[in-house]
Amino acid sequence: MGSLTRLGMFLAEEGGEHGGGGVEAGITSGWAVENVWLILVLPFVAALLIVFLGKANEKWGHRLAIAMMGYVFFHGTWLWILTMTDGVLYEASYVIGDLGSGFAFELGWVVDGLSSMMFFVVGTVALLVYIYAVGYMKGEIRYAGFFSAISLFAGAMLVLVAAPNLVQLIIGWELVGVASYLLIGHYWEEKENSSAGMKAFYVNKVADVGLILGAIMLSASVGTFNITGILDAAEEGAGELSSVAVVGALLLFFGAMGKSAQFPLHVWLPDAMAGPTPVSALMHAATMVTAGVYLLGRMFPLYEGLAADARPWIMLIGGLTLFLTGLIALVQWDLKKILAYSTLSQLGYMVLAMGAGAYTAGLFHLFTHAFFKALLFLGAGSVIHAVHSNDMRDMGGMRKPMPITYWTFVIGSLALAGIPPLAGFFSKDEILAGLTHAEGPSTAMVLGIGIDTFFFWTAVFGAAITAFYMTRAVFLTFHGEYKGHGHPHESPASMSAPLVVLGVFSVGAGFLNVPGVFTGMTKWLEIRANEFYEFHPESLDLGVALTGLTAGVVGIAIGWWLFARDADTQAERDRLHIPGLYPLLENKYYLDDFYLAIVAFIKGPLARFIDWFNGHVIDAVINGAGLVGVWLGRAVYGVDQKGIDAAVNGLAGAAGASGAVFRRAQTGRVQQYAAAFILGVVVLVISFVFVL
């Protein structure tokens, strides 16, 4: 085993609008950065131990999981604080095995601005979700198994985030997929839930093909799986890599489209709501769906430089996702599904930002979104826990019995809608600013205008939609008359405490990066081994900020006008019957039907054709070959029967015939034998005496 520490080479900060590419890192060693393996191993320890705890599970299973994740939170926060104060840059790789042709299978970890941000986000959100789940899952089926699987989930994400090479990244990537399958199908007794788990797994598998192909293509051209190595080669821009960079980058992005649920591979995410709410919160905030955006961030120097031609496609996918999925959220009745489509829309923003070259903006949105989306999901879970239904038509008026949930949910909604000074405003503004100023793929055109401008307005419109559907969700859930049964009451402290903590983060996280005032996030995220250029605004662009804010306010105003005035007719008003559009949205653009049709085509006509082809063409060939065999066999049979067997039988027959003759000599009468014997003696005597 050998350890390898790479220290990046940095250029002096260039400053200005397009400056970027690395801040001198102060810390390159120390206990915290050299022992990140603890973060990677402990969640798996918890996941394994819980499986073997047996009866002690009910009491100790969740405590074990929380203790392990508590340590991850502590270590992740430590690393993030080190990043914020001094800057950390460290990479460790341990060779596990030789893959031949100069490739080695290595495991290790990278600590830089990007990964320590993710360690912090995953640790914080996962710990809060665990604590929340203690209350939420109390008395549920497979209580301890849930904590085992969710530990696996978080652990897999940490392995992915820490990956110094693409092989480890893929391992973490696939483990996340397995854990998500287990968790989405947690209530597998109902067919629908286990199907949702399988759907998530299948859709991700389709995308994973792209990831693996891309990883192989890039690694093979550079000669190493090491990400820093690949990015170094991309920086030099020479050799084989330059010829495969764009295709490889697009294939990696295809993989990211699966995990980050980009249109048209987003179909698994809304169905993943079948899992318990804490899973949804974790999946949508910190683990799983952020993996794709993280991958884009990790490989950003490649996308920024050699593979810049891939970026218009990334922008296109991100823009489509944010717009199309945001519209679907308008017509949903399931509270969790609204949040799911909202996550899709926000992931679209992140991908759009990465495509536009606004690295900090995309990852900053990931950071803030993790907190307020976790908050919204946990708030929704709190309501669902109280009314035992996901459907907003069974809710209403929850404001009075559940004040903590109400206020934190409102904070989350406002943050999501982009209302200052909450976190979402700053990160969304950063993305909008990025779209107006980004360089790179701006020569691409959509509908006759520049792609940046086109998607700037798409994003603004998307912001208005976001604000609108969140307002609708708040009013239908918390205002008006209670339409369900029973007496809902505020959730226990283990559930409301995480809400409050996340609420604080949702308010405060945005201040980590205010252009022109405090640009900490920008600096921290640029602490990387590879230099690259990205856009970040030098100062707050008031025009852009006001446009985004106006969009949010307009969305809220429309929502307010439609749903707040007359509580009793909310349901009626909600049916925004726009002919053509409404059914289209309600059926999710018929994408599921389209995929089903593909599957049905494969199962139906295609399968029948293959069956016919098999029966008439392949079978004919095989039968023909068989007939030749039969003819040959017959010929050999003839030779065998008429030649060899005849000889053998002839010999036997001859033996039999001679036996039949000679057996007559065997009369069984001793006196005849004696007579023959004496006759023989007489003959011998005569011959001796007279002849010789």
Partner: protein, 101 residues
């Protein structure tokens, strides 16, 4: 007494034995015939020994050997005949044709 007289007697006895062996049907009688032939041979051996005046008495030694062997042979032979008789209630050798091919 000349050698020829002994040989004539011996030949007569041997021929009687052969006749009995081939002509008799009773197994016991056949055994007796065999004894007759053996003793004819014994007479021959003793006669020739006396005629060549053998210092080692080879003829006599052979004769004694043969008497011993004949006794053993007839013992086994009679035992077999008795067993067959017990099983089949007859001593007629014409009925003993189990070995017919």
């Amino acid at each position: 007494m000349t050698l020829v007289q002994f040989l004539l007697l011996s030949s007569l006895l041997f021929s009687l034995g052969v006749y009995g062996l081939l002509a008799r049907r009773n197994a016991v009688m056949i055994l007796l015939s065999v004894e007759l032939m053996l003793n004819a041979v014994n007479l021959n051996l003793v006669a020739f020994e006396a005629w060549i005046r053998d210092a080692f008495a080879t003829g006599n030694v052979f004769a004694i050997f043969m008497i011993t062997v004949a006794a053993a042979e007839v013992g086994i032979g009679l035992a077999i005949v008795i067993l067959i008789f017990r099983n089949r209630a007859t001593a007629n050798v014409d009925d003993f044709e189990l070995m017919r091919g």
